[in-house]
Every structure is written in structure tokens, then in C-alpha cells.
């Protein structure tokens, strides 16, 4: 048997299942269990990276038919460049996170058994890989459900707390509603591909070859988009994200936010570009608009949070929005037959997919390290951690810079590409798009600025200043396993930011296969140095040169400030003569986001109360001030509460049928029989 990328990735999936099978043998020694399982997971991820990189780099497409599944419906596997790209994303992050987990999960030792965490962690990874490998609707949905169920149990891991159970329940509901929509979408496509008489239409190949009438294609696309949007956390289906991500163990949140959401992106790209193939422009407009809404709303909600992991979860909503902006633009350009720009949009979206996996994984790992050390998620209680956890602080800062889209890190490159797709777009033949394109560019810029503000807050409040809580716990730096995971992720962020041309050259095959054009970044002299998406005279960016420039400025600043002795004094903080400064008087997360809360207040459901307790008769000298702030997602009130109330109402109505009297039940059957007899006569 020859070695193919598909074979390597399948081997990696098998290795993950082997890790699961080993669990019963190792259960008695939890420490050994952790090291074995996560080492195996790392090895599997490494294999997956090899397979994925090879599939993309070599433009190889392999297929395989497994003789398992339902009778006459075998499982089809396929590894093509698109799948290879997502396999690379998944495996890269899962490699880092598995290394990180070797240290992180040890924190649970002695507190609770970690067997279920280890089992479902590996199943979860395998599930994600299978989703990407699947080449028929049946296997895809099975893998999709395996992934959803495994992540449900991971969210439920610390199930003694009611918030975890609530979050997991909400998650599984949203996941299932999404899965039903996907199932229906595949049903439409399979039915139209080969007719409803046989089942051969369930393979993706049959769907690829079929021509769909527009209205059915639209139905299939909208259902699939709904299903994948529920998984990806597109506004307004995002509510499960900020509930589920904070309560899951941090390595799991890193994976869920970093790569599980990306499987939904994969699904959207696969269904729209590959399976359906042709589409009208307004599908792209829908994706673009929802992407813009998600980006802006996600970052605004993130700004309001003071729970570190919840803040990161809302940022996932934002970044999924940015990815969808790229993909939506690409769809619009494709339908107007502008392949060059379409390829640019797709590359931008996929690049951001990769970047978000890396920096969000890094940030969640950093948040996990902080949580591990301080047992605290609320930023208002933290501060000054940079002195105790210098490594974590530096790595978290790299993540913050990346996600804020600042050069020389990777976030900048992909957002820059997205901007290029906006700015280079010619006049569109539709008035809506004429409005949407400049507006979208403006909103994307707003998102970037707000994200930067948000991470100034997140980093500043968590790591700078002094400890804000009442008594500081014994904080320790993350161990080397955790550090190595984070260092590798940070390094990847850096490389993706400095050498984008190499990376884009590697993945350029994907738009070529899906749209028909490469973007050919490395044209001209010193091609590898300059990222030139369309033409040299329009716009180009050089990661290495910008990096060297920034390095020079930093070195110069350091030399000026630090080399001369005595240039920096450390003195007590000037207290304006007040003299009783304490750590509670620092700038807090809530106060930092106050101006933005004032400006965008109409988007939130805010309740703010200030209560003064005067000191005796002197009203000017309050004894105590209580400040109460509650910021809620308006979508709960708009979308979810009506649904919840309606389902309770329906249940109450149905409950009335239950009389408790045998006669009543008999009457029900009797009337049913009579009615059926009358109608089927």
C-alpha cells in the first residue's frame, strides 16, 4: 500500500482511538494516564500535520471507501487540499494544546478523576478530523455528532456546578438544532442529486456532479448555513459560546474556540463552493452581512465582559465574523465572475481561520494558565500577574497583539487581506453591494480598533498594576509543558505574520481548485518578501521588513531608555497627596470599558445602579458606594426568550391532554380511530 496523505491522517485518527482504548488499562494511575494519552494525542496531531501539509502542498486528492457503515451505504473518505488545510489547522492547534494539557490537566490530580476528560478529549479530536475527512453525508453527520457529543461531555466535565450543566445543555440544544438543519440540507442535495428512489446520492461526489435548481439549491444552502452558523456561533446563534467556553477546562476551550468552530467554516466552504458550486450573489451578501454583524457585536460584547474566558469566547464570535466576511466577499466575487478577487477573499478567510486558531488557542491557553495559577476567572480580582508569571504574560501579550491585528503578527496579515478584498473591489452591479462594501470596510476597521481596545483591557487589567483581590493567592508560573505549548503557538503566530507569502503560496491551491484562479502573491522581484495580493502598484505588505523596522524601533527605544544608568527611577506612586491609595483604586475592567459602554449602550441590555451610603449627615462624604452593573445579551430577550416561552406554553397545552383518567385516554384512541376511518375510507 502506498502512503498517501489520507492514509496518514486516517492513521492519526486511529491513533486517537487507540489512546481511548488504552484508557481502561491506565485508569488506575491517573498520572500515567495523562502522560500517555496526551503524548499519543500529540503524536497523532503530528501525523495529521504531515498528512494535511502534504495534501495541500502536493495538491493531492485521495479517496477511500470504508466497508463499514449502514448496509450498502459505506463510509467515503476524501482528503483534498481544502480538507488538508483544515486538518493542518486542527492538528497544529491540537498538537500545541495536547502538549499544554500534559501540564494543565495535572492541576486536576487529587481533586477529581480526569478519565472522562482524557477519553472525550481524544474522541473530540478524532471527531473533528473525521468531519473534515468525510466524503458522504452519512459519515459527515456521524462525525459531526461525535464531535458535538464529545465536546458536550467536555463542557460538562466539572458537572457539580450548575452553570456548567446549564451551559452544556444550552450547547447541546444549539448543536442539535444546527445538526438537524445540516441533515435537512444534505437530504435536499442527496435527493436532488439522484432522485428519491435510491440512496446513492448521499456521497459528496454525487452532489458535486448534480445540477440543482436554484430554489432547491437556495434551500439547501440556507439550511446548511443555518446549521453551520449555529456551530460557529454567528450572531444571533452565538449565545452558547460565552456560556460553554468559560466553564470548559481551558485546554478544551482552546480547542473548541480555536478549531471546533472552524469545522463549521469548513462546512460552509465545502457546501457552497464545492458541493453546490454555483450560487447567486445574494448568498454571499447574507454571509457577508451576518459576518459583519457578528464581528461588530462580538467585539462589543467582549468589551463588556470581565470574565477572562468569557471575553475570549465573545472574541471568537468576532473572529468567526471576520472569517465569514472574507468568505462572503469571495462568494459575491465568484458569482460576479471576478475570480481574482474571489480567490483573495477566500484566502483571506482561510488565512484568518488559521490565524484565529493559533492566537485564540494561545490566548485560551494563557487564560488557562492564569486560571490554573490563581483559581480566578474574574479579571476585576486579578492584576500584577506579570511579576509572578512573566512567561505567561509575555506569551499572552503576543496573543493579544495578534488578535488585535497589529503587525508583525499574523492577525494583521489576514485582516489586511480582508481589507484588500474590500478596497480593491470594483463597482458592484447591485445597489445593496455598493452600500455594503464601503460600510463593511468601515465596520471591519471599527472591529479591529475595538478588539485592540478590548485586549488592552484584558492584558492591562490581568497582568499589569497590582493584585486587585483582597488577598493574593500563591501564584506560580505555568510549568514547562504548558509553556512549551504556548511558546509554539506564539511562534506560529509570529511566523504566520512575518512570512505570509510562503504560507499563501502553500495554500494557493485551494482557491485554484474551488474558484479556478490562484492569487499568485509572490510575483515580481523579491517575491517572497512582498505580499502582493493583486498588483504591485495597488498594495503590498512585507512582513519581514515591517518586523525588522519594529525591531529596530524597539531596540532603539531600549537603548535610549535602559542603557544610560539612572534614566529610570522606581519610586512610590504619587497619590495626589491623598495618602491612602490601595489596590482597589486601580483602573478596573469595568471602568476601562465605560466610555464604549456609554457610546454603544443601546446595543446592550444594561442595568446600572449606584447606591451611596452617607456618613451620618455629611452627604458629601459617603461612607460606602455600591456599584452594580449588569450587561446582558439583548438577543436573549429578542430571540431566545420567546422561543423558550413558546415551548413551555406548548408543553403546558400538551400536558392538559394528560387527564389521569383512563376513560379520557381511551376516548383519545377512539376518536383517533374514528377520524382515521372516516378520512381513509
Amino acid at each position: 500500500m502506498t502512503i498517501t496523505p489520507l492514509g496518514i491522517v486516517s492513521l492519526s485518527v486511529l491513533l486517537l482511538f487507540l489512546a481511548v482504548l488504552l484508557v481502561p488499562l491506565l485508569k488506575s494511575s491517573q498520572r500515567l494516564l495523562i502522560s500517555t494519552s496526551f503524548t499519543l494525542a500529540s503524536a497523532a496531531s503530528l501525523l495529521g500535520i504531515i498528512g494535511g501539509v502534504w495534501a495541500v502542498g502536493g495538491a493531492i486528492t485521495n479517496t477511500m471507501i470504508l466497508p463499514v457503515g449502514l448496509p450498502d451505504l459505506p463510509f467515503h473518505l476524501r482528503a483534498d487540499p481544502l480538507a488538508g488545510f483544515f486538518i493542518t489547522v486542527i492538528c497544529l492547534l491540537s498538537l500545541f494544546v495536547s502538549m499544554y494539557s500534559l501540564g494543565y490537566i495535572k492541576g486536576y490530580l487529587g481533586r477529581r478523576p480526569v478519565t472522562s476528560l482524557v477519553v472525550f478529549y481524544n474522541i473530540f479530536l478524532a471527531g473533528m478530523l473525521m468531519v473534515v475527512l468525510a466524503d458522504d453525508a452519512l459519515f459527515f453527520l456521524i462525525a459531526w455528532e461525535v464531535m458535538a457529543a464529545a465536546s458536550y461531555f467536555l463542557v460538562m466535565f466539572e458537572d457539580e456546578r450548575i452553570e456548567n450543566r446549564r451551559a452544556a445543555f444550552l450547547y447541546i440544544i444549539v448543536a442539535h438544532v444546527g445538526a438537524i438543519a445540516i441533515l435537512l440540507s444534505f437530504g435536499i442535495m442527496a435527493g436532488l442529486a439522484t432522485g428519491f428512489e435510491n440512496f446513492t446520492g448521499y456521497t459528496f461526489d454525487a452532489m458535486r456532479q448534480a445540477e440543482f435548481p436554484l430554489k432547491w439549491a437556495t434551500a439547501a444552502f440556507l439550511l446548511a448555513f443555518l446549521g453551520f452558523a449555529a456551530k460557529a456561533g454567528v450572531v444571533p446563534l452565538h449565545v452558547w459560546l460565552p456560556e460553554a467556553h468559560p466553564v470548559a477546562p481551558s485546554n478544551v476551550s482552546a480547542l473548541m474556540s480555536g478549531v471546533m468552530l472552524k469545522t463549521a467554516i469548513y462546512g460552509i466552504v465545502r457546501v457552497s463552493f464545492d458541493l453546490l458550486g454555483t450560487f447567486p450573489w445574494w448568498w454571499g451578501a447574507i454571509v457577508l452581512i451576518l459576518g459583519l454583524i457578528s464581528a461588530v457585536m462580538g467585539v462589543l460584547y467582549a468589551l463588556m465582559q470581565h470574565d477572562l474566558k468569557r471575553l475570549l469566547a465573545y472574541h471568537s464570535v468576532e473572529n468567526i465574523g471576520i472569517i465569514l466576511i472574507g468568505i462572503g466577499l469571495s462568494m459575491i466575487f465568484t458569482s460576479f465572475n471576478m475570480p481574482m478577487l474571489a480567490a483573495l477573499g477566500l484566502i483571506a478567510g482561510l488565512y484568518h481561520t488559521m490565524n484565529h486558531a493559533m492566537f485564540k488557542g494561545l490566548l485560551f491557553m494563557g487564560a488557562g494558565a492564569v486560571l490554573h495559577a490563581t483559581k480566578e476567572r474574574n479579571m476585576e480580582e486579578m492584576g500584577g500577574l506579570i511579576h509572578r508569571m512573566p512567561w505567561t504574560a509575555a506569551l499572552f501579550l503576543i496573543g493579544c497583539v495578534s488578535i488585535s491585528a497589529l503587525p508583525p503578527f499574523n492577525g494583521f496579515v489576514s485582516e489586511w487581506l480582508t481589507f484588500q478584498a474590500f478596497l480593491l473591489s470594483p463597482a458592484m452591479p447591485s445597489p445593496l453591494l455598493k452600500l455594503l462594501v464601503p460600510l463593511g470596510a468601515a465596520l471591519l476597521a471599527l472591529t479591529g480598533a475595538l478588539a485592540a481596545a478590548c485586549f488592552v483591557k484584558a492584558f492591562g487589567v490581568t497582568f499589569l498594576g497590582h493584585w486587585r483581590g483582597h488577598h493574593m493567592p500563591r501564584v506560580h508560573e505555568a510549568d514547562w509543558f504548558m509553556r512549551s505549548g504556548m511558546i509554539l503557538a506564539a511562534l506560529t503566530c509570529f511566523l504566520l505574520g512575518v512570512l505570509p507569502t510562503l504560507f499563501i503560496d502553500w495554500m494557493d491551491i485551494i482557491p485554484q481548485q474551488l474558484i479556478g484562479t490562484k492569487i499568485g502573491v509572490s510575483s515580481g522581484t523579491y517575491g517572497w518578501l512582498w505580499l502582493t495580493p493583486v498588483a504591485q502598484e495597488r498594495a503590498s505588505y512585507s512582513g519581514p521588513i515591517v518586523f525588522v523596522g519594529i525591531l529596530l524601533v524597539v531596540v532603539a527605544a531600549y537603548l535610549i531608555l535602559h542603557v544610560k544608568p539612572g534614566a529610570i527611577h522606581r519610586v512610590p506612586i504619587w497619590d495626589c497627596g491623598f495618602g491612602k491609595l490601595n489596590q482597589r483604586m486601580q483602573y478596573s475592567a469595568t471602568s476601562f470599558s465605560m466610555p464604549i459602554r456609554r457610546i454603544f449602550g443601546f446595543l446592550f441590555n444594561i442595568r446600572e445602579q449606584v447606591r451611596l451610603t452617607p456618613r451620618g449627615v455629611y452627604k458629601a462624604f459617603p461612607k460606602r458606594l455600591n456599584y452594580y452593573l449588569r450587561v446582558r445579551d439583548r438577543f436573549w430577550g429578542w430571540l431566545y426568550n420567546p422561543v423558550i416561552e413558546f415551548s413551555f406554553w406548548v408543553s403546558r397545552m400538551v400536558g392538559r391532554l394528560q387527564q389521569g383518567r383512563i376513560q379520557a385516554y381511551l376516548i383519545y384512541s377512539f376518536i383517533t380511530i374514528i377520524v382515521l376511518l372516516v378520512f381513509s375510507r
Partner: protein, 221 residues
């Protein structure tokens, strides 16, 4: 025997089955109900034998004997024992008053004839005219279960329904295969035993066999 005579005999017995069904619908006394049920089984058994003779299906004789032993001897005996042991031979309480129940029963018979009209036209069997009666018997059995409060009467209603089904099988297709009939007969017997056991338990727990008591098992809001 002439076919015409057989059809006449069949219709005659069908009329008796229907009559006993109506009798059960209006009968207030427990023993009376059991007696009527016995008679219904008896007519059913004879009818099965007649159909078996006319159609030349000899396995119908076996099911006829089975019916006779089960529904005329064994089940009435069990019911008698139940009634005596549980001391429930007083007047049966009804949910809807008797004349109203009668009217509903008549409506059901008409409805059955209306339903079966197309089937009767298509069928070539001797017994085709009794299909509607069989259906009416099933429905009247169900109606009896609905209108009675007492658990034992509900069982009798259930058994009457089964009689109707058996009758329908005989008149629609000259009986089911023997294996199926044996199975059904066994089911009925087992059901009767299980009901008996349950009733003893219900009686000792609730001190009554009024099914209204079970409304307490309903979920509270």
C-alpha cells in the same frame, strides 16, 4: 349445506353477537355482564364452526373449539372468581347514562355499515355482510371501556373488543392462520391472568377498583 343457508345462518349469529354486545353496553350488574360475555363467546364459536364448514377450512374447527373452551368456559370462570373474591357484584357505575350509551352504540353500528359498504361490494365471501357487525362489535367494546368506571367491566369491554376482532377475522378472510389464532388466544388468557393479579393488588392498595382513583397518579403542575 347450501351456501345461501350458510349465509343466512352466519347473519343470524352475527345479529346475536351484536345483540349481546348491546346487552353488555346496557347491563348494570356484574354477573349479568359475565353471562352476556359468555353468550357472545358461544355465538362466536358456533359462527366459526359454520364458516369453517362452509369454506372447507378445517382449522377453523380448532379455533372454534378453542373459543368455546377459552371464552365460554375458562374466562367466564376466571371472571366469576374475580368478582366473588373481590366482592364487586354490586351495580356497575357508568359515566354516561344508559340511554345515551345506547344511542352512541346505534350511531356506531350505522357508522360501521357506512364504512364497510365499499368492502362489502368488493368481497366475494359468504360472510361479507357480517363485516360491519364485526367492526361495530369492536367499537362497542371500546365504547364500553370508555363509559364504565369499574376496572373489571373495562376488562370485559376489552375482551368483547377482542371477540369483535376475532369475528372480523373470521368474516373478512375466513379466519387468521391457526398459529396466529393460537397466539392470540394465549395472549388473551395471559392477559386475563395478569389483570386478575393486578386487580387484587389494586384492590388491596386503593381499597377500590374504581379507575377514577388512578387520576391521582397524574403529574401535578
Amino acid at each position: 349445506m347450501d351456501l345461501n343457508v350458510a349465509a343466512q345462518l352466519n347473519s343470524f349469529l352475527a345479529a346475536f353477537v351484536l345483540l349481546t354486545a348491546f346487552g353488555m353496553l346496557v347491563q348494570r350488574r356484574m354477573y349479568g355482564l359475565v353471562h352476556l360475555f359468555t353468550w357472545q363467546g358461544f355465538f362466536l364459536s358456533i359462527n366459526t364452526a359454520v364458516v369453517g364448514f362452509v369454506a372447507g377450512k378445517h382449522h377453523l374447527y380448532i379455533s372454534s373449539i378453542l373459543t368455546l373452551s377459552l371464552k365460554v368456559i375458562l374466562l367466564p370462570y376466571i371472571l366469576h372468581v374475580l368478582i366473588r373474591r373481590l366482592k364487586v357484584h354490586k351495580e356497575v357505575e357508568v359515566v354516561v347514562n344508559i340511554p345515551m350509551t345506547m344511542m352512541m352504540g346505534i350511531a356506531l353500528v350505522i357508522f360501521s355499515y357506512y364504512l364497510m359498504a365499499p368492502v362489502t361490494q368488493l368481497s366475494t365471501l359468504v360472510t361479507r355482510s357480517t363485516l360491519a357487525v364485526a367492526l361495530a362489535t369492536v367499537m362497542i367494546g371500546l365504547l364500553m371501556m370508555i363509559t364504565r368506571k369499574h376496572a373489571v367491566t373495562q376488562i370485559i369491554g376489552f375482551l368483547a373488543m377482542e371477540n369483535g376482532l376475532f369475528f372480523a377475522a373470521t368474516s373478512a378472510t375466513y379466519g387468521m392462520p391457526l398459529v396466529v389464532e393460537l397466539g392470540v388466544a394465549l395472549d388473551i388468557l395471559i392477559a386475563a391472568f395478569i389483570f386478575g393479579i393486578f386487580f387484587f393488588h389494586i384492590h388491596t392498595t386503593f381499597d377500590s377498583l374504581d379507575v377514577d382513583q388512578m387520576a391521582r397518579l397524574k403529574e401535578e403542575d
